[in-house]
């Protein structure tokens, strides 16, 4: 088959219904990516993920000696793979594997970071952490400022050391609790509408300051708003919490999650630039 014919066939199989008797398993990676981009073809997406699972397993095994089951790492790495497949841009001129590797690694590393040292947190500390979330909110209202550790210890009738430990142990759970709590969605939407103009300006500043506007686009609107209020309006976490209608500890978690996302985006971009340099494209 000539190159011209090959391109024509790829174009046909990369878009529209598959010819009779053809299966997604028979398509090339590029054809699958075309189908995913042009038609949001779920079967093509699944096939891509299936083909790259061995890469996830291989990367997960590199972390096998760090005390976490490899199966768990494969699960976490798979999330990175799905993100990579969904975000991959065919026009970048790089292989999907080049793009997916740092994303998968990033997801696995983030998992270790979230787990930290407190892999097994005693039940009492977990309970104290939950209580502290509530008490911080109550005391912030009463005192009209963020409470100190001594004040938290007095309010929960435990030692200051236990408060410090419970706060630290809470970080292990930040990834699961990140979407819980918070104020009403309608209130948030109104707040976001108020800020749309200002947000545009914030993106420009972010661009100037090289925190990268494209990376900001990966955050959800609430996260963008929180970063804007904290880093450009100069509000404290407690002020941001009051403004958005969520707890200060939740603001803290969302700031970290947003910054982690921005950092991961930058790492991926850096890896891509490095790959392009290796091929002499830059």
């Amino acid at each position: 088959m000539s190159a011209l014919e090959s391109d024509r066939v790829e174009g046909q199989r990369g878009a529209g219904p598959l010819p009779y008797g053809e299966r997604v398993e028979d398509l090339s990676e590029r054809e699958l990516l075309l189908r995913l981009r042009e038609q949001q073809d779920g079967a093509a997406r699944e096939e891509l993920i299936k083909r790259y699972l061995p890469l996830v397993k291989s990367l997960a095994r590199r972390f096998a000696s760090r005390g976490q089951p490899v199966e768990d790492l494969v699960q976490v790495g798979s999330i990175g793979l799905i993100k990579a497949v969904d975000r991959f841009d065919l026009d970048r001129g790089v292989e999907l594997s080049t793009y997916a590797t740092p994303t998968i690694m990033g997801e696995i590393k983030r998992y270790f970071r979230d787990k930290g040292w407190a892999v097994k947190v005693p039940r009492a500390l977990q309970d104290l952490n939950v209580r502290l979330n509530r008490v911080v909110e109550q005391l912030t209202v009463e005192l009209r400022r963020s409470p100190t550790i001594a004040e938290l210890a007095a309010a929960t009738e435990v030692s200051e050391e236990e408060v410090v430990e419970a706060l630290e142990s809470g970080r292990a759970y930040s990834s699961v609790s990140i979407f819980s709590g918070g104020g009403g969605e309608e209130d948030e939407s109104l707040e976001l509408l108020d800020y749309l103009g200002t947000e545009e300006e914030a993106y420009e500043i972010f661009e100037q300051r090289r925190v990268l506007a494209p990376a900001m686009a990966r955050l959800d609107p609430r996260e963008r708003l929180i970063l804007h209020l904290r880093f450009f309006e100069g509000m404290t976490q407690t002020q941001v919490a009051t403004r958005i209608g969520i707890s200060q500890m939740h603001v803290s978690r969302l700031i970290r999650k947003s910054i982690d996302n921005l950092r991961q985006y930058m790492a991926e971009e850096e890896a891509l630039a490095e790959a392009a340099r290796g091929r002499g494209e830059v």
Binding site: R113, W117, P147, I149, E165, R263
Partner: protein
Amino acid sequence: MAVTRLSAPHDIVTLHIARGGSALPVMRVLMGGMASRNDLPLDRLDDLHLAVETLLAEEPESGGELTLELSTPAGGFRVLLGGLVNQSVKAALVADDLFKPCPGCLLDVRLILDSLLDSHGVVDMDGVSFGVEMEKRAS
């Protein structure tokens, strides 16, 4: 951003720790303990935590030692994170131009530290590594 040298701090704690996964949680707990002696509100302590996390995220994950010196001068909390080697971060933190980008950094460390801290500054340590001194007032 200038750092005022503080005289006669009340408590000084210095931690020497190898780089790696457990360094950050240990630092956070230590900072929490010291903050409780100085009535530092939780949101201000969290800003300090985030500043330290931001600096460490730009560093190699292994190899060598980090130091953390904590002191609690009246009305404030001072953290000196030492053993840092990312010279791009150092250049960004000492640059006169606030809007100078930070090539070689994942994020704009200067912007983040400016927002989180009352003051910060770079301290030369041994000619190879450097430290970042950070201060946060209690109120």
